[in-house]
Each structure stands twice: as C-alpha cells, then as structure tokens.
C-alpha cells in the first residue's frame, strides 16, 4: 500500500499531499497517510469527513496513521429543503441578452476601448440581475480566447449560470478554433432566435 509520509510537516502540506494521493488513487483502493502533528491530524480528519471520504485511524508513539479508502466522493449531495426559510432576495438571472460584436467597447481610442470592455465584463458579475445569455460575434469572439484579458471573468460568469454563445463562423473566419475553450459554439439561427426572443438586447 502507498504510504504518504507527512511527518515533520505542518498544515497545509499534509492536506495537499493527501489530496494529491486521493487524485492519483483508483476508486476502491487505499493508501496511508502518516502525521506526527496534532493540528495536522485534526485538520486532516475534518477535511476527509467533510469530503465524505472513508478512513480509519491508528495512533502510536505520537504518530497517527490514517488509512484512506478512495470512494465515489464528489457525487452531488441532495439539497436540504429547509434551506431558504425566509422570503429573501436572491441575486437572480434575467432573460435579457448582452451582444458583444467587438473586442472593444465603443469607437474611439483603441486602448480606451480595450480598457472599457474589460471593465464592462467585470461589472456584469456584480449586476443585480444577470443576463440570460451573452452572445459573441464578429471580433467579439476574440474576448473568448484563452489569452484574452477577460477570460477569467467570462469563466466566472459562465459558472454563475450565464450561457455564453460564440459565433462559430466568426471563430473559423479569424482562425481561432484552437484558442477558444469557453461557452458554446453557435450558429446564426440560434443567435437570431436568442436575440429576438430576449426581453431586451444590450449592446455596449
């Protein structure tokens, strides 16, 4: 059995090592983690419990040995119904669409246009009502490139539940196929459908 020896190490090193081993271990297989630090042991135990990972513990001479079995952790748990007890305002999502036809905002100085679009996309995250979709076409698709200055923000926006649609024809035209890994590639029918059925289309 694999042994992960974290003796002499302090938090968070033992957790890092355990998590790495968990990733590398096949489901159903086990490994051991050694620690000689009370705090590290307590934190490890808590970390494993919270992640619903099976483990057993033995202690001798101030060394804790945790035998950890890799299971199917990470499977989504069911939600408790008692959560939202009160009528509380949630940050919600609307059905309006933001259409980005350029990688700059407005016409004028190029550098200013770059800066403005970055700030605009950043600000979307803080809107009280998030857009339903963001559509990227023509030079707008360049915002979705892996090295785009707003790629991090777009990923976050996508995680918040906003659908990102990128015009496939445009990506092909600018030869960006290898450089775009976010959102959904879309066709003109879907884009037209989304824009005409939206409550409102915002073009910055």
């Amino acid at each position: 059995m694999r042994i992960v020896d974290t003796r002499g190490q302090q938090c968070p090193a033992p957790i890092l090592a355990t998590k790495k081993a968990l990733k590398e271990t096949k489901t159903g297989e086990s490994f051991e983690v050694l620690t000689d630090n009370q705090t590290s042991f307590t934190n490890l135990r808590r970390f494993l419990k919270d992640n619903k990972t099976q483990f057993s513990v033995e202690e001798s001479d101030g060394v804790w040995t945790l035998t950890i079995k890799k299971g199917n952790e990470g499977i989504a748990m069911t939600k408790t119904a008692d959560y939202c007890v009160a009528d509380i305002p949630h940050f919600s999502q609307g059905d309006f669409v933001i259409a980005l036809s350029s990688n700059k905002m407005g016409s004028g100085d190029e550098e200013l246009g770059d800066m403005l679009i970055i700030n605009f996309i950043k600000a979307i995250k803080d809107l009280d009502i998030l857009p339903g979709k963001i559509i990227f076409y023509n030079r707008g698709v360049m915002l979705g490139k892996d090295d785009s200055p707003v790629i991090g923000h777009l990923k976050e926006i996508e995680k918040m539940g906003v659908k990102l649609l990128l015009c496939a024809t445009c990506i092909k035209f600018y030869s960006l196929e290898e450089m775009i890994h976010i959102g959904t590639l879309s066709n003109m029918y879907e884009i037209a459908q989304s824009m005409t059925s939206a409550s409102n289309v915002v073009k910055p």
């Binding site: 302090q10 968070p12 090193a13 890092l16 705090t39 970390f47 959560y83 509380i88």
Partner: protein, 346 residues
C-alpha cells in the same frame, strides 16, 4: 541586504491569531469597565474601542500586530501598518496618531531590517495621514510588528458591527484569499503574479471604503481579518441580532486562490475558523467545499464588509469601483434573525 523574513515564521499575519473560541472564553473572565463614555467595548467583538471625549468627538482606539507575511522587511512594515489602521476605517473614523509596536530579534537579524520595517510602517501611516509619535520594542523571535492607532470619530456616527439591519446588502471591498496564497507561497506553489497581487491588496488602505461609508450613512461594517469572511460575518450577525446570508459564488478571489484550495492548500487557521463558526452557520449541502473553506480563510489586512441599505447599494458599488476598488462586490444580504446567524450558499 538579503533578508527573508518568511524563513522565520510558520504562520504569519492574522493567521497567527489565537482561536476565536478560546479568546471569547478568556475575555469572558474580564470585568467590563462601566462608564457611559465608553461607546463601543469588547462586548460586541468590534474592530476597535470607542471613547467619548465630548458631544462632538470620540476616540477610536485599536491595536494590531503580527509576524511576517512576506520576505521583504519594508513591505512587511507597510502591510502591518495598513492592517492596524484598518480597524479605525472599519468604524468610519479618521486615524490620527499611532505608536509602533515591535518585537525584534536583535541577535538574529541585521538592524537594517528593523529600520526597513519601521520605514514601511511610517510610509503607510503618512499615506493615511497618521503621525507615528512613539513606540516600544522588545527583543523577541520571530519578529512581530504593528501599531496602536487612535482616530477621531463623531460620537453619533460610529459604524459598528452591531449596525447591520435586515434588508441591507453586504458589500465586500477587497477580494479574499490572502491566507491561502501566503500558505501556498511557503510551499512554492504560487506564481509571481499571485504574490504581487496579494501584497498589493494587503498594503491597500481601507480609507476610500470608510469615506464612502460616511457619505452614504452606512451604520454597520467590519473589516475582514483573522477570523475570515465567515467568522467576521458571524460576529456582525450576532452583534446586530440579525442573520447574514453570503453567496460565495459572488466572492471575489485573489489570483489562483481557488486552484490552490482545490489542491488542498488550506491553512490551519481556516480549520480553526470553521470550528468557531460552524455551530452558528447553515451551509448549503452541495456547497462547493473549496469555496466554503475560502470563506473561512484568515485574511491579513482584508477589505471592509459593509451593510448598505438596498436603495444605496448600486451607488456605493459604483463609487467603490471609481475609487479603484474595482473588485468590490455585493456578496450577500441581511435578514431578520433566522434559526442560524449565518447562511452560506452558492
């Protein structure tokens, strides 16, 4: 001069705090002085004490010091000073004078490091309009530095963590992740950009946030430091007798905080804070584990968490962005007291 202060410490900055639970038990044994001029004391676990001088003036009085959070002595001085002064800003006060508090291992470090730490402190104090008028040094290892700060405030305009009202929107002015990134740095897991970002945020004064709170008559706020976002939010909810709901999906993060947490880089202080908060908190069952632990991450010189009435929240956000605090975000809201003080969801 090649000095690496980080080599001397195991947990730096506000991670070095005594666990909140333990501290509360200790403080319970102390008698609270009874004086009508004491406007804010330790009872509500606020950022600073406030003492009324007359009807127009009260003093905000606070202290904070900690072991190094970065290698460079000058930068450590800057961060420690910004962190100490922040407590005055969190109450809406104007910091005025300060004393240096220094623990320095004279036999182990060149005296240049001492000078550099103090110089960093003075430079940040100058930026905040604070005059350092004295101090005290003890020979001790590892080094520790901070300030005791006095600020002015109008006795009717004190912003406390007891001032959050049901319906308020919670706005956070700096991204979180200093504890995770500093721990990652010690283990060689961070990029240069992570480290420079985290240092820039720790040095950033909370003065603009305080100005904006005063302008919009905010009554409830706290700064986010060693007890983490969740710990300070809990203290605020308790002191205000309300419940606080935080949407961790809205939480602005510094650099690769999320990725580091996902690797398991979760500092011990986060577990301490978790233990302190969890009985009073309801955590949504399928809440992302990494985000949850980030909410417990101890912050050094963190941002202000302010409770703003909903009709003013948008204006406050855009003013904060105008002042360069462009990651300020609405991260939650205040309700009447529910079963738990704190609700975390995404």
């Amino acid at each position: 001069m090649n000095i690496d202060l980080l080599q001397m410490v195991e947990s730096g900055g506000c991670s070095a705090k005594i666990p909140a639970k333990q501290l509360e038990e200790i403080l319970r044994c102390l008698p609270l002085p009874d004086d009508p001029d004491i406007l804010v004391n330790i009872e509500t676990h606020d950022d600073a004490g406030v003492y009324r001088v007359n009807d127009e003036l009260a003093l905000v009085f606070t202290t904070d010091f900690f072991p190094p959070v970065c290698s460079d002595p000058y930068e450590f001085g800057q961060i420690a000073a910004a962190n100490a002064i922040s407590d005055v800003y969190a109450m809406g006060g104007k910091p005025v004078i300060a004393l240096n508090i220094m623990m320095f291992p004279a036999a182990k470090l060149p005296v240049d490091a001492y000078k550099e730490i103090l110089k960093g402190g003075v430079d940040i104090a100058f930026r905040a309009g604070v005059k350092i008028i004295g101090g005290h040094t003890i020979d001790d290892f590892p080094p520790k530095y901070g300030l005791a700060v006095v600020g002015y405030i109008h006795p009717q305009k004190i912003i406390t963590n007891a001032g959050a009202r049901s319906g308020d929107i919670l706005i956070l002015t700096k991204p979180v992740g200093t504890g995770v990134i500093l721990a990652g740095q010690r283990l060689g897991l961070t990029s240069e950009s992570d480290v420079s970002q985290v240092k820039a945020f720790m040095k950033l004064l909370n003065n603009s946030g305080a100005d904006i709170m005063n302008k919009y008559d905010v009554t409830g706020a706290t700064d986010i430091t060693g007890f983490g976002l969740a710990g300070h939010a809990l203290k605020m909810a308790r002191a205000s007798s309300v419940s606080i709901t935080l949407n961790l999906g809205r939480l602005p993060l510094i650099g690769s905080t999320y990725a580091l947490t996902d690797q398991g880089c979760i500092p011990g202080a986060a577990f301490r804070n978790l233990e302190y908060v969890e009985n009073e908190a309801h955590v949504e069952d399928d809440l992302d584990y990494n985000l949850k632990m980030i909410a417990y991450d101890a912050q050094t010189s963190g941002g202000l968490l302010m409770a703003v009435s909903p009709e003013k929240a948008d204006e406050v956000i855009s003013e904060l962005h105008n002042k360069g605090l462009d990651t300020s975000a609405k991260i939650g809201f205040v309700t009447e007291k529910q079963e738990k003080f704190l609700y975390l969801y995404k």
